[in-house]
Subunit: 347 residues, 2 copies
């Protein structure tokens, strides 16, 4: 830790008291113009930076917010963090970011590390946490009155502000568009029910089919888990049956699997099989065929999430907790050629 110049040093140099220097720097009306400019000049000259530890100790604020997310490995989360960073910088707050790699124990450890040294925490919970359904670590934060905001992978029972995407509507529209373009046998690749988004994707998908009078075939819905090896086989079985004319994937990796398997079985995308994916903003446009994708506006989600958190940290405490929904953006690409043509949207 670098030894910066302190208020005491500056007071010594200028022959005034520490309190005078402190007040001058915070532009207190108590201090005369002359003194203020003397102090400010010296501060600039010596690149004075307030010691954040001392300030925190005194003020009981750390000016740090914690972020706990499953993985740092994609374009979307990178944008979320960018959005959070923007809001944090604006308020002179710093960030501590931890990834859990979707492990419960990592999540608990990260939360514990953060608790006590941050003014608020942003969480998108690990798959494993959802799966085993243990939330005390998060409930404790709320009990401790530490402001918490969850996004994406939220937990209903935790009482805090939340930011999500319009999963239901996205799935409904994606499905309805496919139906409009003549598809009737649409596969759905989602996560198990413990995943909040997947539940809503399923509902939106089912609603769209029902609205069109199409029977829901449960074997067209695959609730997959990435750490189970057989997920590949399940997708392969579904595709090789050749019953489908479209597939909606909630996950980019599953979509890549679909492309690989389709190629293997000489099924042409999009001629025989349309494909559309959630997530995958980073690579969808670089693949061949380019893949239509529904992307979450990560940057905006990050900003909203941070704004809600700062409202709790700095602001007027609102009574009710808010669930803020950010809309997704669909980018039509080659993998749904007919759909895109019909809707005459392109990108």
């Amino acid at each position: 830790m670098r030894a910066n110049i302190t208020l005491k040093d500056m007071a010594g140099i200028l022959g005034v008291s520490i309190s005078t220097v402190s007040k001058a720097l915070s532009n207190s009306p108590e201090i005369g113009h002359e003194t203020k400019s003397k102090v400010n000049d010296l501060a600039v000259l010596h690149k004075y930076k307030r010691n954040s530890q001392a300030y925190s100790l005194r003020s009981k604020k750390t000016n740090i917010i914690g972020i706990v997310i499953p993985q740092l490995n994609n374009e979307y989360i990178s944008n979320v963090i960018d959005g959070i960073t923007y809001e944090a910088n604006k308020r002179d707050y710093k960030l501590m970011t931890y990834q859990t790699k979707d492990s419960y124990i990592n999540e608990v450890n990260s939360i514990n590390t953060l608790n006590g040294c941050v003014d608020g925490i942003i969480v998108s919970t690990a798959i494993q946490t959802l799966k085993i359904n243990k939330n005390e670590h998060l409930a404790n934060l709320v009990n401790d009155k530490l402001p918490v905001v969850m996004f994406d992978r939220i937990i209903d029972t935790i009482e805090c502000d939340k930011v999500v995407s319009n999963y239901f509507e996205s799935a409904f529209k994606a499905t309805a568009d496919l139906i409009k373009s003549g598809k009737r046998n649409i596969g759905l690749l989602i996560n198990p029910n413990y995943d909040y988004a997947s539940q809503l994707w399923k509902k939106g998908y089912c609603k769209a089919l029902a609205s069109a009078g199409i029977n829901i075939k449960t074997d067209y819905i695959l609730q997959l888990e990435k750490n189970q090896i057989e997920y590949h086989n399940r997708i392969e079985r579904l595709i090789s049956s050749k019953k489908l004319d479209a597939i909606i994937s909630i996950d980019e990796i599953y979509a890549l699997e679909v492309i690989k398997i389709a190629k293997q079985y000489a099924i042409s995308i999009p001629n025989e099989l349309s494909l559309l994916t959630f997530k995958g903003d980073g690579i969808s446009k670089h693949l061949s065929p380019t893949i239509t994708n529904i992307s979450q506006n990560g940057y905006l989600i990050g900003r909203r999430t941070a704004q809600l958190l700062f409202n709790r940290i700095l602001g007027k405490p609102t009574e009710k907790f808010i669930v803020n929904t950010v809309t997704t953006t669909t980018t039509h690409r080659e993998s749904t050629g007919r759909v895109s043509q019909l809707l005459s949207i392109s990108a």
Copy 2:
């Protein structure tokens, strides 16, 4: 910031002095067994956590290290951070991670935010910083005697420890393997010379060609920039000339571009064109064809980098700065079918 129990509180409860409590908790030999266990029990009961601000103020250490990297959006960097996290947790250090999105001004801001509130900084510098060749923000850290370690995107003139991959050897071996399998017209997609790794890739590639007595064709070497739109056209021109029988790409996105263009020109990978990529650990195995890739061991790089940093922070100061090289791992996949068969390696 949650109000935790303090030493003073505990001293009050137990009717002993603050110093006694402090010493008991740090297991000082000065304190009697009885007192120690009384104090420890109470600490556990009330979940005592040392106030890190107060500790930092006193000790002049923040127990935080800063990380400044270009982007958080890939598997590799996620693993690097995992490695750093492991070493940091071991020493009870916390992390502040900032991404620059490859912008110089973001990098300067991140560094400045971090300087003064961390005990050391790990940097992989932004493309723009390399391009405009401005380093004062990093040189200043070194001058301030703040421990710095750079990895991957390093800057030679900054005097600090560094961790890199064996770029030269990787490129040499990749090229030599392709030559061994009969390829003679090998394209190379790299970044401009300001990128340290690209320079070495080019050298390794040239050396391998020279060793095999193959003339180096400079128009087979494309030094691309992602933010320039024409990078796609340059790749397309190179591939559509149909002069190549193999391509080595230093970047995953360029490799995806190659696949797309090859498909467009009905050039079969790997039959007519072998493809091999650096980076891309996340998706190479999910594409079709699966892509042979040379991956950097992100986790290990993270650990080494952190170890070097902690040596400087905590340890015996070594005189000389170290450049630590971590070897890459080649995973042979479909995109270099013949090469992989010849070398009888698989994955």
